[in-house]
Structures are given as C-alpha cells and as structure tokens.
C-alpha cells in the first residue's frame, strides 16, 4: 500500500536538492554580515575605549576621540524623529483609517513609494535648496534633520500603515456599530493594538537615519568643529561623515582609527535593531488575539 515508486524517489530527491540550495543562499546572505563585523572588531576593536568615545579628535583628526560626532549623530537622529514620527504616523492613520479608495489616495500612495525610491543624494540637494537656502535655516542640525526626516518618512508611514491594517477589521466594525466615531475607534481599539508595529518601524528608521551620509553633508554636518552642538541651529559633526572624512580626506590617520569609528557606528545601529527585536518579542508575548 505504501510502496515507494520511482516518482516518489525522484520527488524526494528534488525536494532535498532545493532545500540545500535555499540553505546555501541563506548562508551566502549571512557571510557579508559576519565578514564586516569580524573585520571591524579585529581591526577597530583596539581603538575603542571610554576616552575614544568621550573626547574630541586631536592632531588634525589623526588622534583623539569621536565625541562631537557621536553627540552630533544623536542630535540629528533625535530631531529627525521628532519631525518624522508624528508626521508619518498621522499620515499613516489617515491613509489606513480615513482615506477612501479614490484617485487622491492612489496618488498619495504613489508619492510615498516614489519618495522611498529617491536617491539620498537627491534628498541632500533638495535639503540644501529648501531648508538651507529657501527657509534660511543655514547649514544646521535643523536643516539636516528635516532632510533626514523627509527621506525616512516612507519607512514610518509604511510600517505604521501595515501595523494598523493588521488590526482585524471586525474590531473596527464592532466599535462603529456601538456608535463610536472613527477617531474613538482608532484611539481606543486600533492604535493600542498597532503600537508594537509602529515602534518597530520607528526603530528601523533610527538605524537608517544614523547611518546616512549624503543628506547631511551639505545641510548640517561639518568636516570638523571644535564645538559641541548647543541647539538645532548649530552645525555639528556626525558619525557617518566623520567616518568618510577620516577614511579618505585626512592624510596620516592611523589605519585602525576609521575601523574604530565604523565599529561604533555599526554598534549603535545594531543596538537599536536588537532593541527593536527584543521589544517586538516582548509585545508579541502580550498579543491579545
């Protein structure tokens, strides 16, 4: 009754072959990550110290630490988030909960997709034209963060919209049937159950924002400044630009230094991502339906 036919054997062989093939592809994917991390740790690990993190560069940036750049990146990311998170979440709520199926919505969706596809150097030039020159913010944290915010807006919008859509429609209907307005429904039922997805999107945006170089190099980040930023109208150093500078622009930098800078930058991003994953696991444990 359960004899194995020629066809069975063939099917199983093909199935095993594909499984191995896909596994190999997956391994290939991990390889660059491990290589990058490995290289950075081996070559840059020796540079990292408390002093390195919390002092300014010295000797024409060939020695000393990275504190102004580290602080600058925190400033840039924080201000960018303050702008893009409320804006992105509001837009996503509108698109998910209010917008009808019409040409207007379709155009907005198309715009979001296109915004996500615009190269970062184009965002940079837009930032210069709009924020540095037209709004006269000058090269400042504000101009750079606005540029970053616009660039990462699609990330927030798409992540938020998807987590809103993941809340079952029946919940909304149940609320509407009781006489709740759309906003009451969003506030009481939809948002509380979409929060984990929204936060995940925000944290992903943080890691993207921290690493970007092009959008900030003309709008607010500078080669070198001895001053720490005091407010949003100051210029600042930033980790990503600092890495570019010490790697290519300054002669006589010890070989280990750029690796150390890169290691700190990637560590920042990885820590944010791990936080995001941990948070998602925590919230999944509390999943309510």
């Amino acid at each position: 009754m359960f004899e194995t036919s020629e066809l069975n054997i063939k099917n199983q062989r093909v199935q095993r072959l594909f499984k191995i093939l896909f596994l190999l592809m997956t391994m290939l994917l991990i390889a660059p990550v491990l290589l990058i991390l490995g290289t950075l740790i081996v070559k840059g690990g020796s540079v990292i110290s408390i002093d390195f993190l919390f002092t300014s560069p010295t000797d024409g940036m060939t020695a000393g630490g990275i504190f102004p750049a580290l602080l600058g990146t925190v400033w840039l990311v924080a201000v960018a988030l303050l702008i893009s998170v409320p804006l992105g979440i509001a837009a996503a709520i509108y698109l998910s909960e209010y917008a009808g199926e019409n040409w207007f919505t379709r155009i907005i969706n198309l715009a979001i997709i296109n915004l996500a596809g615009v190269p970062s150097i184009v965002h940079a030039l837009f930032g210069v034209g709009a924020f540095v020159l037209f709004f006269k913010f000058g090269t400042s944290i504000l101009a750079a963060s606005l540029t970053l915010a616009i660039m990462t807006l699609p990330v927030v919008i798409v992540a938020t919209r998807e987590s809103l859509q993941a809340v079952p429609f029946a919940f909304r209907e149940a609320c509407w049937n009781m006489g709740a307005t759309r906003w009451q429904t969003i506030r009481r039922v939809v948002l509380p159950n979409a929060v984990s997805g929204i936060l995940t999107g925000v944290i992903l945006e943080v890691s993207r924002t921290a690493g970007e170089t092009a959008p900030i190099m003309f709008t607010g980040a500078v080669f070198f400044t001895p001053f720490l930023p005091q407010g949003i109208f100051d210029q600042t150093m930033a980790m990503s630009l600092h890495l570019f500078v010490v790697s290519t622009q300054v002669p006589g930098v010890p070989e280990n230094l750029p690796y150390g800078v890169a290691l700190v930058l990637i560590a920042m991003v990885l820590i944010m991502n791990s936080l995001s994953i941990a948070f998602r696991i925590y919230l999944r444990g509390k999943k309510k339906w």
Binding site: E173, C175, N177, V189, K288
Partner: protein, 269 residues
C-alpha cells in the same frame, strides 16, 4: 436629535398584534454597484417582538441590517433607496448616526471579543458616551453580563482578556456589549454560527427575556431557530422578500408561496 428618536414608553406586556411599529421599512432597495442585493422590501417590525428573517446566503439579510443602523455609510459601493423609519424618523436622513447606532445593538455571526479586558469590553460603549463614574460602570457591566447569561462564568476574571474567552463566551460577551447602551432594538446576524448548541440554547433563552425590554431582529439560517423564537418571520430569497407572516404559519401550511415551503421543509438552502 438624541431625544427626538427616543421611542414612547411602552408597557412590556403589550401584545405583538397591537404593539406600535418600531421600524417601518418602505420599498427598500439595496444595490452594490450594479448588483442588486435587495429589492422593494416593505415590512413593519413592532415593539417587543422578535422578528425573524430567514433565507439562504445572498438573500440580502445582512445588507438589510447594515442599512438599518446606517453601517452602509462605510461602503461607498452600497446604494440604498426607500425609507426606513425608526420611531417614525427616516434613518437615512438622520444627521446623528452615532446616536442611532447606540440605540441599536448588533451581534455578528462570528464573536468579536475586543482585545481588552472583559470589563472594558462591556464598559467601552458607555465610556464613549461619557459615563466616567466607576460605580455606574460597575453596575452596567454586571447588569449586561448578567442579562447575557455570562456573569457567573466571568465575574471572577473581569480583568482577563475578552478575546481569550471561549467562542460561546465571546458571543455572549458580544451580546453584553450590545446591551451596554440600553438599546431599543437588538439585531442579531446568525449569532449561533460559531457557537455550540448548549450555548445557543442559553442565548435563545436570553433573547426570550430581552424581548420584554426591546425589539429584536433575528437573522438566522436555522429555520427551527426562527420557529423557536420569532413571533413573525420574513423569508428573503435572492434579494426579494418572498413572504412575511406569523412564524407558525410558515410551518403549518398557511404559506402562499411554494418557495417558502421548499425552504422551510429543507428542500433547498
């Protein structure tokens, strides 16, 4: 607006025959795009009766319910013609649909336990309508869960998630929620589809008691359920209201239309 659609107080013992009309439907026609869902339905639903609507799928039963509490506004594709008078006022011209909906409780085919505590599930609608006092809410929650025959099972775990109750409990929770605003009309859309027979019988007993306090529209696939509960029943078929009459007449041969007999006797559907 709120006060103007409030019904006159009617003694619960009023006879179905003499009871005033709660919901008057005239020439109701519903289309989805060009697809007709219900055509030219006229019927009266009286206070304190259980009005059954039976019929196979695609008969237009759910579309009918959606039109009564104006849920059709959420579907731009849904076109409604005709009149639905709730306490004599045409619901299609009401500005305050929220007040209308809070007067009509709805129970869906599949139980919807909202992802919040049992207590919050029932207290949600009263809270939305502005009741903040904890003592008032406690009374409402206990009373509604009690009337839905769920209080004894959940009174010790009001803080557990409503969405984690069993299917039958969730459906009774849905009923408790529908009762939380003291509705004048309770609409049930095939409530027993995902509920075990024992729970179904318990809910049916609940409905028989609720009839004293409100008007009930019972959409059901189960002909025998209509027979057990409904005083009068309408038979919908493919968007047409084939017959309206005393429920018992549908089973005792007083039927005018052959299609109704075929359906009631289980020859199709």
């Amino acid at each position: 607006m709120v006060a103007s659609i409030q019904g006159a107080a009617i003694p619960p013992a009023a006879q179905t025959e003499q009871a005033p009309v709660k919901l008057e439907v005239r020439d109701l026609t519903i289309r989805y795009g060009n697809q007709p869902a219900l055509s030219n339905v006229s019927l009266d639903i009286r206070e304190h009766e259980i009005f059954g609507i039976i019929g196979p799928a695609n008969a237009g039963k759910t579309s009918f319910l959606k039109t009564v509490n104006r849920m059709n506004t959420f579907n731009a594709n849904m076109h409604v013609d005709g009149e639905i008078l709730f306490n004599g006022l045409d619901v299609r011209h009401l500005k305050n649909v929220y007040a209308l909906r809070s007067r009509i409780g709805v129970v869906f085919p599949l139980p919807v336990g909202l992802p919040m505590t049992v207590y919050d599930n029932v207290a949600l609608a009263p809270r939305l309508s502005g009741i903040k006092d904890k003592a008032d809410l406690d009374i409402i929650v206990e009373r509604c869960l009690g009337r839905a025959a769920l209080w004894d099972e959940v009174k010790d775990r009001l803080d557990s998630l409503g969405s984690l109750l069993s299917g039958g409990q969730q459906q009774r929770l849905t009923i408790a929620r529908a009762l939380s605003q003291e509705p004048e009309v309770l609409m049930l859309d095939e409530f027993s589809i995902a509920v075990d027979p024992v729970t179904t019988m318990r809910i049916e007993d609940v409905l028989k008691e609720l009839k004293e306090e409100m008007t009930i529209i019972l959409v059901t696939n189960l002909v025998q359920q209509a027979r057990r509960l409904a005083g009068r029943t309408a038979f919908f078929l493919n968007g047409e209201c084939v017959e309206i009459g005393e429920t018992e007449d549908l089973f005792t041969g007083e039927i005018k239309d052959r299609r109704t007999r075929d359906y009631v006797e289980g020859r199709f559907g």
